[in-house]
Assembly symmetry: C3
Amino acid sequence: MTPALPSVPAGHLVLGVGIDVVAVDRFAASLARTPTLANRLFAADELVSASGSPRRPVSLAGRFAVKEAVAKALGVPPGMQWHDCTVISLSSGQPELVTTGTVLAAARALGVTTWRLSLSHDAGIAAAVVLALGSSQGRTE
Amino acid sequence: MTPALPSVPAGHLVLGVGIDVVAVDRFAASLARTPTLANRLFAADELVSASGSPRRPVSLAGRFAVKEAVAKALGVPPGMQWHDCTVISLSSGQPELVTTGTVLAAARALGVTTWRLSLSHDAGIAAAVVLALGSSQGRTE
Amino acid sequence: MTPALPSVPAGHLVLGVGIDVVAVDRFAASLARTPTLANRLFAADELVSASGSPRRPVSLAGRFAVKEAVAKALGVPPGMQWHDCTVISLSSGQPELVTTGTVLAAARALGVTTWRLSLSHDAGIAAAVVLALGSSQGRTE
């Protein structure tokens, strides 16, 4: 008898990793130069902070680094929409990823059920690392 | 019959990730400007290298990046003491994390049993990535 | 009866992590100053891009960051040859690690069967993160 997976916690095996580094001033200059860029990259509620004020360039750069790291962790799926992957901040300050549409579909296709991510910025750089986790991959069972 | 977890290696499932980037010169300036800061951030044996000489700012910046990455990997637990999380260097040069007190308690509360970490510095930047690993989370079984 | 590991996907538990940051201009200057360095660090097919033109310094810096991150993820194994660990780019643009010789032997000794990696560069910095994955470690069973 081959037992099913009774006790292995779902969603904590590593299926993909992504890292991204963004030069904050260069990113801010791109946003200033191309007025449509912010709306192409960010959903409306990402452009304002919890207090309702416009999110600062350094914070937007960090969130863009997350989006790029998510794309890398998923193997750069074609047709990915930037709005389909957003970061929310828990009350602790810890970031959490919310995926919808194209990103959710790409994640499901790979068996990704859980995300872990972290962000940092200093020295004019925003950096993000993202882990795509799942309980298994179709091709491994 | 539901078997217990007989063969799943303990402590290698991902529960959290943290990344941190520190500008070395800015960190060194903070240490110089606030004489009490070094002792607030570092235990006495972290302030000297294996040979007994004072640890260089770039090395302290890397160790501080680890502490911040650990905090992020644990979800920024309130009341965390910087001294409760230190890095030791194995003879190979590989870093290992030692947790005590507040950090050990926060790790246990999340089911974290094992840490993996890595450090790098170049271009005036110290960067650390930390993985908090465990065999399971209470809430997933 | 203790069942064997029937359903745990092989190669997705974390055994090691490595991060590396490389200042691109400093790395390019080292390559220019020491003509033998490029051949010591890179295999012949790493020095040219898919189109056959010489790979740019920023791209070589990223690949060197991967090699250093792999070494760290394996615990800095003595005798590791840089040529035994190369990056290939899948058609999606996603990087994949190919290990041979000394690196493959060090990986096998630790139970590492799978690699996940990601690369980024901006602001004059190339950064890589590498995860060494396996189904178990000898010492944990």
